[in-house]
């Protein structure tokens, strides 16, 4: 295999990894703060993508034609709408179930994910069919031998990277981030220290959901298509990636996301007879990793009260 082809595969893998990492970071944030797995995260991504699509349609109707304006508007509307949705989910579904057994929250959020997915399918006009997401980013390409480098892919990658860096800076360098980390460490003590628990939780969920919306729009721009089932798959992969990397650890989530994408790309390259096996391969590896390291590669530091 020549360098150009290899570079193409690597580029594909990086893009996939970025999208998985964005979803995984969301899972990790939620878990860190509230000890919950919000399974509906993937479907929030879908709703975000569809919100972005509707924004685009609305803008087209209003006559706004500048693609940069459209991209900005789509992102802003999708992210803020999903931030709101995330906060609502936290307030009305997750927090009331905080004291219930952990499995109940898992199931409740799984079902919520189904509700979101089916709502998009049933209530969005012609929701069951894939929708063509517009090409808003410049499509100039540079051909380096066999490797076709597209400007929009580069922009998307850099955008995703910027979001991850921003989240990292927010969580580690700001006062609000300090509050988030405090709540993640010990809820009662954080409350005693005067941190408004509810507000921090709502903000964290909003942040994670906005990241999901960004990933959804990115997905739409990359594949030029969105459909109601896109979130389920991305959600499970993001969740597996977060778990593999160790829940509660942002670096672990990012590592997990890129690792999963690498697994899939390697699977696709190494098994040329059926690249469809790559999903089977990737999930099988996840199960194996869970058997070997039950709490992920970067193990979460917990102590269990008996």
């Amino acid at each position: 295999m020549d360098a150009g082809l290899l570079a193409q595969f690597v580029a594909n893998g990086l893009m996939l990894g970025m999208m998985y990492a964005l979803v995984a970071v969301g899972f990790t944030l939620f878990f860190g703060v509230l000890d919950v797995i919000k399974f509906s995260h993937g479907d929030v991504l879908t709703v975000g993508a569809f919100t972005g699509y509707s924004t685009y349609l609305g803008l087209k109707l209003l006559g706004a034609a500048d693609p940069w304006l459209q991209v900005a508007a789509v992102l802003v509307v999708a992210c803020s709408a999903m931030a709101l949705l995330g906060a609502l989910i936290a307030r009305y579904l997750v927090m009331p179930l905080k004291s219930a057994p952990a499995l109940n929250i898992l199931l409740a959020t799984l079902m919520l994910g189904t509700v979101l997915r089916e709502s998009v399918r049933l209530f969005y006009p012609d929701g069951a069919n894939p929708k063509r997401f517009p090409r808003l980013l410049p499509t100039d390409a540079v051909a380096l031998g066999d490797f076709n480098l597209r400007l929009d892919s580069v922009l998307l990658f850099l955008g995703g990277l910027a979001v991850i860096v921003a989240i990292h800076v927010l969580v580690n360098r700001s006062k609000l981030g300090l509050a988030i980390r405090a709540v993640a460490q010990d809820e009662e003590t954080a409350r005693t220290m005067g941190i408004n628990f509810t507000l921090v939780v709502l903000f964290t969920f909003a942040l994670g959901s906005a990241a999901a919306a960004f990933a959804g729009v990115m997905n739409g721009l990359y594949y030029n298509e969105i459909n109601f089932g896109m979130g389920l798959w991305l959600g499970v992969i993001g969740f597996s990636a977060a778990i593999v990397g160790g829940l509660g650890n942002i670096y672990g989530a990012i590592l997990g996301g890129f690792l999963f994408a690498a697994l899939q790309t390697v699977g696709a390259v190494a098994l040329p007879f059926a690249s469809a096996y790559k999903d089977v391969f990737a999930f099988a590896v996840v199960i194996a990793i869970m058997a070997w390291r039950p709490t992920g590669l970067i193990a979460e530091k917990t102590s269990e009260r008996v």
């Binding site: 020549d2 594909n12 069919n129 894939p130 040329p272 059926a274 469809a276 790559k278």
Partner: protein
């Protein structure tokens, strides 16, 4: 409480009798329509449903009709197991006499046993896999549209004639895609072309970068796609992403407005083939288009609407002739020879297959599927890829 119950029962009884009385005029006969009403190919399914519904409506408006017809509509979601489920539901209902069934070949091939088991005569209106009629000896299965054998013959001849010698084949892993692969390989070898790579993909695959990257390194003249619209749209747009300049050639599975809508300007110059003449060149084409427009359906009839109409019409004609009895209808359908319909004379051979000689070549031009001979590509004003 008892009085209330008694009153309710009495009123229910009265309502039931009244409703029954109103129907006493003409006996109601039920027929069924099965097609993919949700999912990626729903446009074709809904088009077929509207067309079959048109046939039933026109028949009910006809005062000379002996019966009043009710069309039961079932959705097979283009999935074999759902198809078998709804087929069982329809076929096990003794009040349903006959049906016009299936656009997706993968579903149609799975349900043939079900119809035979329960003895429901059906006419396929959109599925092109030959095995549906030729793979079994069931008297219940018939088909008005053609099979993919002729389609691939014409495809191979035309494509090699246009100068494309090396082909990469992407096909879906259902029997539909595999059937296309089989027949195309046969014919392309006959006309001097060569297949340099074959890639099987799942019907709902999202990411084709792996396959397309390998295809790019193989550098074929053209990419032949044996599959349906949803993944056709994805493959074509990801081809563009990777900078693959080969010609994209499809089958009847992508001859739908949904394909062009999904791709926008990228669809330009795609080749595709379909059995049957284009609607306006069919014997009953103008009649069908006029009546369809008059009925005011929000969606268009799509590529196979005319066949669905013809299938349902044939069913209704047969029931009018021999009465609402499954066995009699099956027996009557065995002897269909040169029966007039909007798609031309229908004759079922010993396997229930109608011969449709004409294959139409399409090219996507300016956001529409245009017949090749009428297009600017044929006249030389525009050029195909490579």
């Amino acid at each position: 409480m008892k009085k209330l119950l008694g009153a309710l029962l009495a009123s229910a009884l009265a309502l039931g009798l009244a409703a029954g009385g109103a129907q006493a005029a003409k006996k109601t006969v039920k027929v069924v329509f099965i097609g993919p009403l949700t999912g990626g190919v729903s446009a074709n399914g809904i088009g077929g449903r509207n067309s079959a519904d048109l046939a039933v409506r026109l028949r009910n408006a006809d005062p000379k009709a002996k019966y009043h017809y009710e069309m039961v509509v079932l959705d097979d979601e283009c999935k074999p197991n759902v198809g078998v489920q709804v087929a069982t539901k329809a076929a096990s209902d003794p009040s349903i006499i006959a049906g016009a069934t299936h656009y997706c070949s993968a579903v149609a091939i799975g349900t043939v046993d079900t119809y035979h088991k329960f003895g429901l005569p059906v006419i396929v209106w959109g599925a092109v896999l030959p095995d549906i009629t030729y793979g079994n000896d069931y008297k219940e299965i018939h088909r008005v549209n053609g099979t993919m054998i002729n389609q691939n013959d014409v495809n191979a001849k035309f494509s090699t004639g246009q100068g494309y010698k090396t082909f990469a084949v992407i096909h879906d892993t259902t029997d539909y895609g595999k059937g296309h692969l089989k027949y195309f390989s046969e014919y392309v070898a006959k006309y001097g072309g060569k297949i340099i790579g074959t890639f099987g993909v799942t019907a709902d695959q999202q990411d084709f970068n792996a396959e397309l990257t390998q295809i790019k390194s193989l550098n074929p003249d053209a990419i032949y796609f044996g599959g349906l619209t949803p993944i056709g749209v994805r493959i074509r747009s990801q081809m563009d992403k990777l900078g693959i300049k080969a010609q994209f050639i499809g089958t009847s599975g992508i001859v739908s407005d949904a394909f062009i809508q999904g791709l926008g300007p990228l669809a330009e110059g795609t080749l595709a083939f379909r059995e049957g003449a284009p609607v306006d060149k069919l014997p009953g084409g103008k009649f069908f288009t006029a009546k369809y427009a008059e009925a005011g359906y929000p969606e268009g009839p799509e590529a196979y609407g005319a066949f669905a109409f013809a299938a349902m019409n044939l069913i209704l004609d047969t029931i009018e002739r021999v009465g609402p009895n499954r066995n009699k209808v099956t027996a009557a359908l065995e002897h269909v020879k040169n029966v007039d319909s909007i798609v031309g004379p229908i004759s079922f051979d010993d396997h229930g297959q109608n011969t449709v000689a004409a294959i139409t070549k399409y090219v996507a031009q300016d956001g529409k599927w245009v017949v090749w001979e009428d297009s600017e590509y044929a006249s030389g004003k525009r050029k195909l890829a490579k």
